[in-house]
């Protein structure tokens, strides 16, 4: 059973389009995250949700909008895609939200290519 699953794994689209990436975790965790890995392999947090509530919102263009329908799902919607949005997007989850979030578990990543 896949603990943190993302769909789609690959996404190729044109500039200006809108796209979504879905994430689901079956670990029973309370907190979910989106991380972005750029072309130089650098990983950085974008958003964090705890039990459907936004906790962390790093400096991300407002074209990116996370949505959490329930604590097992955290989707990422991107409007008006730009070339610079090309990256690998990782979803993650952890059991806790607090002083010690515990171990984070990552999905397999979704590679977005904007042409």
């Amino acid at each position: 059973d896949t603990a943190v699953s993302q769909t789609p794994k690959y996404l190729v689209t044109q500039m200006g389009n809108d796209k979504s990436i879905k994430c689901e975790q079956n670990l029973g965790h309370d907190t979910m995250y989106w991380y972005k890995q750029d072309s130089k392999k650098f990983l950085k947090i974008m958003f964090s949700y705890n039990n459907k509530e936004l906790i962390i919102n790093e400096t991300v263009p407002n074209r990116f909008s996370p949505k959490s329908p329930d604590k097992a799902h955290l989707n990422l919607h991107i409007n008006s895609l730009e070339l610079g949005d090309s990256a690998v997007y990782f979803c993650a989850s952890s059991r806790y939200q607090g002083m010690d979030t515990g171990e984070l578990f990552f999905g397999e990543g979704s590679r977005l290519t904007v042409l």
Binding site: K40, K44, I55, D100, L104, F106, R111
Partner: protein, 111 residues
């Protein structure tokens, strides 16, 4: 914010060799994880180790929190160990769950 530095940036080994990867961080942490990103891009959890020593097969890790560093040991390396190894931390003063990643150590194990 906290700085995370990994060394060496690149490492080439012959199969069977041992290696030590280092992670230095600039502030006190309450979370430290080591990951292996394999050639297919998957981030594999290796250790959750904010302090102390853990072992898992040929891999072991030690974090000395008071001295702000962590070490990952790989013994009898295999070609399947190739990939990028990341250290990531959450600082005591940081946002909860905001893992700050180092730039990674790229390991290539030759047969």
């Amino acid at each position: 914010g906290i700085q995370v530095e990994q060394s060496p940036p690149d490492l080439i080994l012959q199969e069977g060799a041992n290696s030590t990867l280092r992670c230095n961080f600039s502030d006190s942490v309450n979370n430290l994880q080591w990951f292996h990103q394999n050639p297919w891009g998957q981030l594999i959890n290796l250790f959750y180790i904010p302090s102390g020593t853990k072992q898992n097969g040929r891999l072991s890790a030690t974090t000395v929190a008071t001295e702000r560093y962590s070490l990952l040991y790989i013994s009898s390396s295999q070609t399947t160990d190739s990939g990028v190894y990341f250290c990531a931390v959450v600082s005591d003063g940081g946002s909860q769950g905001n893992l700050i990643f180092g730039k990674g150590t790229k390991l290539s194990v030759k047969p």
